[in-house]
Amino acid sequence: MSDVKFTEEHEWVALDGDIGTVGITDYAQDQLGDVVYVELPAVGAEFTKGEQAAVVESVKAASEIYAPVSGAVVEVNPALSDNPALVNESAMTDGWFFKLRIQEPSEFDELMDETAYATFVEDLD
């Protein structure tokens, strides 16, 4: 059973053991519009928390995606290359970006939980 937390940059990370699956939230994909391309990191790449890890592109914009926690990339979503629309259709599940082997579990604990993120988003609008 994985625990999901959120960042202020609208990334989510679902932790299962020491593997964190990262994606962008439904709010983010809605703001972005139709996703046309996702630039994913290489497997093996290492990121510290807050470092740019990926880029998600719509027709008119490109948004940086930051590693919500520090870790090394163990897997990237193979489906996004042919079907970037997955990010719009199932941002929270099938539209995941990459999986990290995390280094510092406390970083995960510091993130917002679902309720806190929902409040955060409400305050934005």
């Binding site: 046309v36 391309y37 008119k60 914009a61 490109a62």
Partner: protein, 448 residues
């Protein structure tokens, strides 16, 4: 003034609507010290007649290349442009239209860009081409920057057969980016071996095809050596008509092909505006600079075209863009597209054959002159001639006799004494026997 439709009555009415009494009120934000009370010290307005008279007088103080025997090349070539081309590019809808950011009212521009991209990709043997850049030299520089992005390396090796303006522009544009750009010494005979210079930090090797001196190398071994080392091969074509007679660089292993498209559709224009060509492989398309036109459909299923993959570009990606380029060479690309549409594949090959044939004839005639040596084994429509004395003085003397004999290599490589006696001579389909005879006679007269 004929271009300004507003009358004094109009201006008064508009000032009234705005609610100010004078135009000066609308310039209130300008600091007082910077407000010009008087006209700038320049001539006053002039009618068409006067402007035409003055500028035509200036034009008459130039020797038009077509009015005399002319053998100039070195990156710009005098070809015959069919009358159709200039008429079509002067249509209002082509000449005075803007960049096609609103595609529904720009399908004319977008369609010809799509055709242009296809033509460039086809003749270079590559997967994809962009919608043009400023010129061949800046395309070359952009290709090096792209290769560095793709390979994540910072080294570039520039062949000694690359046009010096191209290597200078490449060095300039990479100057502050922490790149290591090595320019090889001038490679007169095509003897250089670049393979041994390729290192683990080499992002790309840049060669010109045919070279600046005219010779044509088989690029396959170099391509293999580059790929073996994880580097990209960039091939530069300064005379695009050569691709009508030579194997496409893409088929020799090029990873990026750049070049100058001026030869098709575009006049010499004393050096600009010209037409930068840029072609690459599908796998690298997202690292390409410049505009890209793509096919799509509208909401009724109709085929149409749009600028696409725009997230590479400055207006979206800003400091992370693949380039800062905005404006391209649209109208020059249209001229190229029209000219190549008129030629077709068979016509393009015939044009190239005619160019080469004329060059071979000229080389034969020139080699009959004692003490004149043709340096090249291979060439397309341009080759290097070794004279027994400095070429620059010979060229000036012949210019005074109304013969434009070619480009002294010393003009391209100033300060390199070993090239002083070398002359670059180009011919095209425009060169007639009388011109060849004039050049030969002129040279005989000038050479001791």
């Amino acid at each position: 003034m004929r271009y300004l439709p507003l009358t004094e009555t109009d201006r008064a009415a508009m000032l009234n609507a705005i609610g100010v009494s004078s135009i000066d009120d609308l310039f209130d934000d300008v600091p007082e010290s910077a407000r010009l009370e008087r006209l700038i010290d320049l001539p006053l307005h002039a009618g068409e007649m006067e402007v035409e008279r003055d500028l035509a007088a200036m034009a008459s103080r130039n020797t038009a290349a077509g009015s005399v025997p002319s053998f100039l090349g070195a990156g710009a070539y005098r070809h015959h442009i069919p009358a159709t081309v200039d008429h079509l590019i002067q249509r209002s809808e082509f000449l005075t239209s803007y960049t096609p950011y609103q595609p529904e009212v720009s399908q004319g521009t977008l369609q010809y860009l799509f055709e242009f991209q296809t033509q460039v990709a086809t003749i270079t043997g590559m997967d994809v081409a962009n919608a043009s850049m400023y010129d061949g030299a800046t395309s070359c520089a952009e290709a090096v920057l792209m290769a560095c992005r793709v390979t994540k390396r910072h080294g570039a090796i520039l062949s000694g057969g690359l046009h010096p303006h191209y290597s200078d522009v490449t060095r300039t544009m990479t100057r502050f980016g922490g790149f290591d750009v090595q320019v090889q010494p001038p490679d007169l005979n095509g003897d250089e071996t670049l393979e041994s210079s390729i290192a683990g930090t080499t992002a790309c090797v840049v060669v010109q095809y045919p070279s600046c001196f005219g010779h044509i190398s088989d690029l396959r071994p170099l391509a293999a050596a580059c790929h073996q080392a994880g580097a990209l091969l960039i091939v530069v074509v300064t005379e695009i008509v050569a691709l009508g007679a030579l194997t496409a660089p893409g088929d020799l292993g090029a990873d990026i092909v750049v070049g100058e498209g001026q030869s098709l559709g575009n006049a010499l224009n004393f050096g600009g505006p010209y037409l930068g060509l840029f072609a690459a492989r599908n796998e690298h398309v997202r690292q390409m600079p410049g505009r890209l036109c793509g096919e799509t459909t509208d909401v009724e299923g109709r085929r149409g075209y749009v600028l696409t993959l725009s997230t590479r570009e400055q207006h979206i990606r800003r400091e992370k863009a693949t380039s800062n380029i905005c404006t391209n060479s649209g109208l020059c690309a249209l001229a190229f597209c029209i000219h190549l549409s008129l030629l077709g594949g068979e016509g393009f090959a015939r044009l190239a054959k005619l160019n080469h044939g004329n060059a071979v004839l000229l080389a034969e005639q020139l080699s009959d002159i004692p003490a004149v040596e043709i340096v090249n084994d291979t060439f397309f429509n341009e080759f290097t001639v070794r004279l027994p004395q400095p070429a620059a003085a010979v060229v000036r003397a012949l210019a005074a006799k109304k013969i434009l004999a070619g480009v002294p290599v010393s003009r391209l490589f100033p300060g390199v004494a070993s090239v002083d006696n070398l002359l670059l001579v180009a011919t095209t389909e425009c060169t007639v026997q009388g011109s060849r005879d004039a050049l030969v006679a002129g040279l005989r007269g000038e050479l001791q």
